[in-house]
Amino acid sequence: MSSDEYFDFVVSRTEDMYNIVQAEGHGSFWLVFIIGILFGAIIQYTRVDKFEKIAGFAMGKDTIIPKMLFLAIGLTSIALYFEIKMGYASYHPKPMILSGLIIGGIIFGIGMAIMGKCPGTGPISIAEGRIDVVVGAIGGLFGGFIFTKYYDVIFKPLMGESYGKTTLVDVSGDHATLAVFVFGIALVLIAIFIPRMELFDEADLSMLDNNERPDTMALQEHEKFEVVK
């Protein structure tokens, strides 16, 4: 491919991206874009994209990630169940590809602990100026290239066969409502009762006034926190 051809290829594939989304029926380009803005803003505003939050959780020094994650899942699981009952949404569960889930989960967990990001929080950290995450993204793009190139010969066989797309709602039959409530409430309670621990980054807080700093508030609310400088 010459450089002209390459340029045309990139432009036409980018146009494809726009056209596919417009034609697919899962929201217009602008709606999907706005969902992204909100997703990025919520994560950035709570600071859960930070290395100190994600790697800090891996180190056992910060629990904001599991608290926020389990609360969101618990609330959504119950509300989504009723949203679907009313006919306003449907389930789209992912297949149980057992070896893919386990091997992939292990590789993903190792990567997440070291990178201190995941694929959704990475772009947010890049947007706020983290150079190391740009390098991580290049590694990720290289990973995407390798995965695509060797999908048929290596990765597809490694993922194993699918055991269906079963959910808790499917298997509990008549007791689905009860099962969803137990599941959702249990997750919300876990979120509330996980002890709150935080690892703050001084560089992240230095621009704030004293009364805006979360670590001064943490001093009154809970004991387990640490500021790294």
């Binding site: 990025g40 994560i43 950035q44 993903f108 100026g129 590694g139 290239f145």
Partner: protein, 169 residues
């Protein structure tokens, strides 16, 4: 105006956003955030979808997430500049300096390697923190609970042994 959103408010807002995305008024699909990487890689490395079965499989999901992640980037930039005041250029995270080392080379090579692992892992499992944890477990899918359990354990074990947690105390 508060400069940091508390975790519980963040959790509630995230739940509302997920419910909106799932609903027919929104996108009628779950939020995911790892398919876009091989999709972008396909564009950047000049891979024609005709030649790669994987690119054909992810053609639609990749495009949707590709657009969403543009938004994520913009949203993160706006709040970091105007609300949290955290926009600045940095290379080595502070906690990495305290609990690992001061070396830029070390951080950047580990970044490249772990970024690579993140995407290989997520694509093997068919999802990441967004697609499996947030969206998948909200649908009470067993696949996502298995992934979630494996990731939690691996994450905590890796964090325990990768960083020097004893020396710095």
């Amino acid at each position: 105006m508060t400069r940091r959103l508390p975790w519980w408010l963040g959790g509630i807002l995230m739940a509302l956003l997920l419910l909106f995305s799932f609903s027919v008024f929104g996108a009628d699909r779950p939020i995911g955030a790892s398919t876009y990487i091989p999709y972008y890689a396909g564009i950047i490395f000049g891979m024609d979808p005709k030649d790669y079965t994987y690119l054909q499989e992810i053609e639609k999901a990749g495009a949707w997430e590709g657009v969403m992640l543009f938004g994520v980037f913009v949203g993160g930039f706006i709040t970091s500049v105007f609300i949290t005041k955290t926009f600045r250029f940095s290379i080595v995270p502070t906690a990495w300096k305290v609990y690992k080392n001061n070396s830029i080379i070390s951080r950047l090579s580990w970044s490249f390697f772990s970024g690579f692992l993140l995407i290989i892992g997520a694509r093997l499992a068919g999802g990441c923190t967004s697609g499996h944890f947030l969206s998948g477990m909200s649908q009470t899918a067993f696949s996502s609970m298995i992934f979630g359990g494996v990731v939690l354990v691996t994450l905590l074990v890796t964090g325990r042994y990768f960083y020097n947690l004893e020396d710095s105390k």
